[in-house]
Symmetry: C2
Subunit: 503 residues, 2 copies
């Protein structure tokens, strides 16, 4: 069938075309069926969306990407033929029936996801099927390898170390510190990280306060060879791109299928050639790891998957029941990380966590003897050499000229949140803290966030500030203040835990 192009001034995010319902019926195709569209020697497969009236009989609506790919413009003639769904839709259905997929089937699915051959509906069915039916270790390994092979990879000619946190706990700015200690001890560690999706700050957001994080694969290779480490944003490379597309569907559903978490983490690490990997599993009621049972399951699976991929994995279950350290939000966390590196930390939790993780890396690398890693990590931190290494890294990436914790600009509009009563801090809600920091503007407003004055177990007096909220403008500070009226960020426990009346 020949149709006249109607150019639509929008990106569609994938190969989507719009046809008139009559034409579609003539071709025997329905909504979400596929057609092959050709103009001259150029041809592509697209998913059909239907229009009752805006696309007339004899017309086909093409979006920006499709116009470019076909080199077509308004009024051009294209030929349109019905075509089959990709075979991977059948494999998704096979998974929906609870059957195990073969290697070829999983590779076909991941390839179609990477090339954007699947519709939103098909992508959602895939993610839901993985969530409800699971994947065994074979399938998870194939999915991981397929994600690696359909993207960019970096090939170092030396042993590569890496670290990753499955996240879920706010204020988790261990990475700049741990990576600097490890690099100072001679390890090569091309750490890539993500921006916040639903948290207040990803490591990439934090690092961006101090340096350029949008590095190419070539930059990373060069800088790691020069100074030992990078702290870059993974999104500027094309590492395991299928994963980014899967996240686009997981996010609106708010689900994280277990095998996909494993495959996602390990694919990004395999793509940069990691040989030794530490996985941080923050455990707490509001993280992805609610209890030791879940932690052990993650640990076994990460270690097992690592073995299959030739990556030696160690997992660290860390305390995640309250924010790590005192700062939440990009600039505040960058400031606190610098304070730790400068030996001026006001919080033990971030010092301990960062050196615990670095210690494991040092032991894996055999630069510290078994049981000596933590001590060595602390020494490197306390000597100031980790700080020197960190400055080398941010300079190599492209420093913003902020090198001291005192110089980090944080949101100037602030208010203090007072304790409602005398007592002890019984609990801090991670979820509430993230919501408040986001309401104040984080992660987009880098200076926005929260500084905690009191942590779990601290004694407080009525009216004493529990935390300070920072924002870059008064309006967002007000949004955060409003939100606080509806949340209970802290639980203050009185001296008297329970009063049992005498009868």
């Amino acid at each position: 069938m020949k149709l006249k192009v109607k150019a639509i001034d929008l990106e569609a995010g994938r190969n989507l075309v719009v046809m008139n319902e009559e034409d579609a019926r003539d071709l025997g195709i329905h909504i979400q069926d596929r057609v092959k569209v050709s103009k001259g020697a150029r041809t592509l497969t697209a998913i059909v969306s239907l229009s009752e009236s805006m696309i007339r009989d004899g017309e086909i609506g093409l979006f920006r990407e499709t116009l470019e790919e076909l080199d077509a413009k308004n009024g051009d003639e294209v030929s349109v033929l019905p075509t089959h769904r990709p075979a991977s839709v059948e494999y998704i259905k096979k998974k929906m029936r609870g059957e195990k997929l073969t290697k070829d089937e999983i590779y076909a699915i991941i390839r179609d996801i990477t090339e954007e051959n699947l519709s939103d509906v098909e992508m959602a069915a895939y993610v839901t099927a993985i969530y409800t039916m699971g994947m065994d270790m074979d399938e998870t390994e194939w999915a991981t390898r397929a994600m690696v092979e359909t993207g960019e990879t970096i090939d170092f000619d030396t042993t590569i170390f890496d670290i990753h946190s499955v996240g879920g706990v706010p204020g988790n700015k261990y990475a700049p510190i741990t990576v600097s200690i490890a690099a100072q001890a001679g390890l090569r560690i091309p750490k890539t990280s993500s921006r916040a999706i639903s948290s207040a700050a990803g490591t990439a957001d934090v690092m961006e306060v101090l340096t350029n994080v949008a590095l190419s694969a070539r930059d990373i290779k060069r800088i790691v060879n020069e100074v030992g480490a990078t702290l870059a944003w993974g999104g500027s490379m094309n590492l395991a791109p299928a994963d980014d597309k899967i996240v686009q569907v997981e996010y609106p559903l708010g689900i994280d299928p277990h095998p996909q978490v494993l495959a996602s983490v390990m694919a990004k690490k395999k793509a940069v050639g990691t040989d030794f990997l530490v996985i941080d599993l923050p455990m707490g009621p509001e993280t992805k790891v609610p209890d030791m049972k879940a932690a052990r399951r993650y640990a076994m699976d990460f270690i097992g998957l690592g073995e299959r991929l030739g990556i030696t994995v160690e997992c660290a279950v860390t305390y995640g029941e309250q924010p790590i350290g005192r700062a939440i939000g990009p600039a505040l966390e960058a400031k606190e990380a610098l304070m730790v590196l400068e030996g001026r930390s006001v919080s033990n939790s971030i010092v301990e966590k960062s050196t615990d993780l670095a210690g494991i890396l040092l032991e894996m690398a055999n630069v510290a003897a078994k049981g000596e890693g933590k001590r060595m990590a602390k020494e490197i931190l306390e000597s100031g050499k980790a700080r020197d290494k960190f400055l080398e890294i941010i300079n190599a990436q492209g420093s913003r000229g902020i090198e001291r914790s005192d110089d980090v600009p944080v949101g100037e509009h602030t208010f203090d949140y007072p304790s409602p009563m005398d007592g002890y801090v019984g609990a801090i809600s991670n979820r509430a803290m993230v919501a408040i920091a986001r309401a104040a503007g984080a992660p987009k407003d880098k200076g926005a966030g929260i500084w905690l004055h009191k942590k779990k177990g601290d004694k407080v007096e009525k009216g004493e500030p529990l935390f300070t909220v920072h924002a870059e403008c008064e309006a967002k500070l007000e949004v955060a203040r409003d939100l606080l009226k509806r949340l209970r960020p802290y639980t203050i426990v009185g001296m008297l835990l329970e009063r049992i009346p005498m009868i």
Copy 2:
């Protein structure tokens, strides 16, 4: 946030808006998040799609439906605020975890589906979750009732009979015959049916050859009261509209979750006030009911769900291993149905099936004694009174002036498919027959289809025509001829079934 409207000359099928990535980031929203958009007193909730460049900072792209609902035009200012996902997304996730949903949760989901508050991704997750995790009878009943209550209903003040086939077998033109017999015996039977989605002809497509099928609820009520029955297209009313929207997601995935099949059928019947219902379950390797085990499961569930809804259900498992009768395709099936009504049938299977089903209806209505229904149905058919009733029905709906089987126009471009050898017909592939009829133009070209000369067990000679393909134009006939080269529509078995050599 205030944004300037950029009108997009397209329907989006639901409340979808397009924002610039920067603005979205400022509001802290991601792709597929929701926003409240207001202009003056008008306000709506929409799902956000992102644009890198075509929608500029400060603009919001609104599609046709949204423009109308807000009474907005290009350049108008609207205010945009992030808002939460509907609670039903949480309920969908609950089902994904394998938990049972409450009545309120299912009603919320069905309401949001009806009002198009869910995105494609969320709809696909719902259908996939139902497919993989199932629903028990409570949940299925609630889903059915919710679908009925969110749509139009017809309230007759008399006892209503109905019949439905779960389909999957081509040539299944029982409905005009069975309904006419039942109406002639005094039953009220407001039969609604669907157009073909993936088959060669739905009952609505067949009836449309002879009469108007787009009736309103009022028309149906009037005509049923006048002549006893209608044979209308369900889509022209708003019966259980959630079902139609669910089909839009099931179709591209090619799945039919069992509880959704039950809910879909029963909701459409409950909406027209059905009291007694016969369900036809065609059994065969290529239908929805592969074996007696599946048939019994369907039957138990339909009967059980009927009891909960106050509908008395009987199920008939019918032979579905080859096409019913001789005709496939709208006009050819209309012709064969008229031939049966005229007493000129050339195929027993359609006569037997139609009177079997009518017999069950007559016994349920107590107009025939137990065991006498089939005989009475045959008598009514043979008397010519069923034909008279059928003509009354098509005249009441709006006849096209075709009243005799000889007058039905069928596709004039034809070719015969010859038997490749002497032998017997061992099997006919339903799937291949449907594919050929569709390639020839069915269901859109009403005259396109297939007339079978030989059926299972018939003796054939090499070169004798097995079937004739009809099309309305030569081009589509060629498409069907090409397709036939790749399919094996008939299996011809030689006289000698196997030759065991002497040793």
